[in-house]
């Protein structure tokens, strides 16, 4: 069972910026325990572009699809047997990243 694990940061109250070594260490563990599928940090929301080609011609707009003080700062994909395991890891991940974590299953 795979879960999308989102790291949520807050523009008004951002998490600490010194978390990379701890996150790397945590990733090593995820790999060793067979949970790691994919991980990546995202650039600022300002770097996002939204493409809408449902009409006559494609429209590009600058910025993320939703403006809010909370935003997606990075993602993992984990392979775990059930939600309890995902929540246990997410509880650790939140400490490790100093940020909120959303856990959402793939269909």
């Amino acid at each position: 069972m795979q879960y999308l694990v989102s790291v949520i940061d807050d523009k008004e109250n951002p998490g600490r910026t010194d978390r990379q070594p701890a996150i790397s260490e945590f990733n090593e563990r995820l790999i060793a325990e067979g949970h790691w599928v994919f991980a990546g940090g995202l650039a600022d929301t300002e770097s996002a572009t939204v493409v809408d080609n449902r009409g006559e011609q494609a429209v590009f707009s600058d910025g993320p699809f939703v403006e809010s003080k909370e935003y997606l700062a990075g993602v993992w994909i984990w392979e775990v047997p059930d939600l309890d395991v995902a929540l246990k890891l997410a509880t650790e991940a939140s400490k490790v990243c100093d940020r909120k974590i959303e856990v959402r299953p793939f269909r």
Binding site: M1, P81, D82, L83, D84, R104, P105
Partner: protein
């Protein structure tokens, strides 16, 4: 005929959770389990009056429900995934793994009370899947439209499935935290029955208090060594025991000091006291009591006194002191102040209550307690104002009636 109907009613009360839980284990799906269980009970209603009540109703119901579930899976799986069907139809797991902790019903309760579900969803799901209440009954109990309650339950079941909330008893390390979540759900159900909110509701919902007690008894049977489970059961029994004296003929709430103690349920009190003594013995052996056990002990002191004047207030205060250390919530501090008033007088208590104002200004019991203390201090005008404030915030019709009378006595 009536015997058969009674047998179905009794089986529903006693076997519903077992049937749903066994099917959930086997088929891994709450929807299938719930619908098949409901069908099996409907079949019992038809068949038992004609065929007689089977010697083992629980086994009959589980077998019938299993057959219904398999029929349904076959219908729905006509073409796809024969293998999956075979796996569901042939149960290779040993039935009823022995050992209390592996009980299917316990897994079901932990699934319904999973922390990843919203609290309202946990309450609704527990009453439906474990308690066997209908969606209509649950909706009525919580003053929610039936369609809204149906949606709440459907969404919760869908999340369990999609997010893969596991159907199992948590590991030993997670157990205490998860049990406390289950107890919180049961206490919520109990409290809603004990002091129902809303002007349209009956002030007391006996069905909900009874259901909460029944489910807590079930948890105690499954986890007999958990002190807080025993504590919560004792607490509920000792509160429930006072129910016959809690409401006047005119539908007004009767506070503890005005209650006819002869009307209290002696059997429930005896049982509650026995459970509290059991926990006191454990505490004496060095097991620190949790909040439900302390609350139960406070209620045991109240129910031990034949008369309000015999109440051992110093013991009650000592128990509140213990509770405050465990749970520094302002509501506990407010209740502690009531004991302080009995021991040190209303003036000392009022000072303690006033310190809670920043945190409790929106809570009706804060103003009701203040009003009572001000009345005892002869500060009628301020007391009236406090009663008015309490009345603005109170949601229970019997409580409103009591507060109104108290206020109007101050004229």
């Amino acid at each position: 005929m009536t015997d058969a109907r009674e047998a179905v009613t009794r089986a529903h009360r006693e076997e519903w959770a077992r049937v749903v839980a066994a099917l959930t284990r086997r088929f891994g799906d709450l929807d299938i389990a719930e619908e098949a269980a409901a069908e099996a009970f409907a079949t019992a209603v038809e068949r038992w009056p004609a065929d007689g009540v089977p010697p083992n109703p629980g086994a009959w119901l589980t077998t019938t429900a299993t057959r219904k579930a398999i029929d349904r899976i076959r219908r729905e799986n006509k073409r796809d995934d024969k293998q999956k069907e075979a796996r569901m139809v042939h149960d290779d797991e040993p039935p009823g793994t022995l050992g209390v902790i592996d009980d299917d019903r316990l897994r079901l309760i932990f699934t319904c009370c999973h922390p990843a579900l919203a609290v309202e969803a946990r309450v609704a799901l527990t009453l439906r899947m474990v308690g066997g209440l209908t969606v209509r009954e649950i909706a009525r109990a919580f003053l929610v439209a039936e369609t809204a309650m149906e949606r709440r339950i459907t969404r919760a079941k869908a999340k369990i499935k999609a997010a893969r909330i596991p159907y199992r008893v948590p590991s030993a390390e997670d157990l205490p935290a998860r049990v406390s979540g289950v107890l919180a759900v049961l206490f919520l159900v109990f409290n809603e029955g004990y002091l129902a909110t809303g002007s349209a509701a009956d002030p007391v919902r006996d069905d909900l208090t009874a259901e909460a007690i029944r489910l807590t008894r079930l948890i105690r049977a499954l986890l007999p060594d958990d002190g807080e489970v025993t504590g919560l059961l004792a607490l509920m029994l000792l509160i429930e025991a006072r129910r016959p004296a809690r409401m006047s003929a005119g539908g007004e709430l009767v506070p503890l000091h005005e209650q006819d103690r002869g009307a209290w349920d002696a059997a429930l009190i005896a049982e509650g006291h026995r459970l509290v003594r059991e926990r006191l013995a454990a505490a004496a052996a060095g097991v620190a009591p949790g909040r439900y056990q302390i609350l139960a002990a406070i209620n045991a002191v109240h129910t031990s006194a034949r008369d309000i004047r015999d109440t051992d207030w110093s013991q009650i205060l000592a128990l509140y002191d213990q509770l405050v250390r465990l749970d520094p919530s302002p509501i506990i501090a407010l209740n502690r102040a009531v004991a302080v008033a009995e021991l040190d007088g209303p003036e000392v208590a009022l000072a303690a209550v006033d310190r809670l104002e920043p945190r409790l200004a929106g809570y009706h019991a804060f103003h009701a307690t203040r009003a009572d203390l001000l009345r005892r201090l002869g500060r009628g005008q301020e007391s009236r104002a406090a009663y008015d404030k309490a009345l603005e915030l109170a949601g229970n019709t019997a409580e409103t009636a009591y507060l109104t009378r108290r206020r109007d006595q101050l004229r």
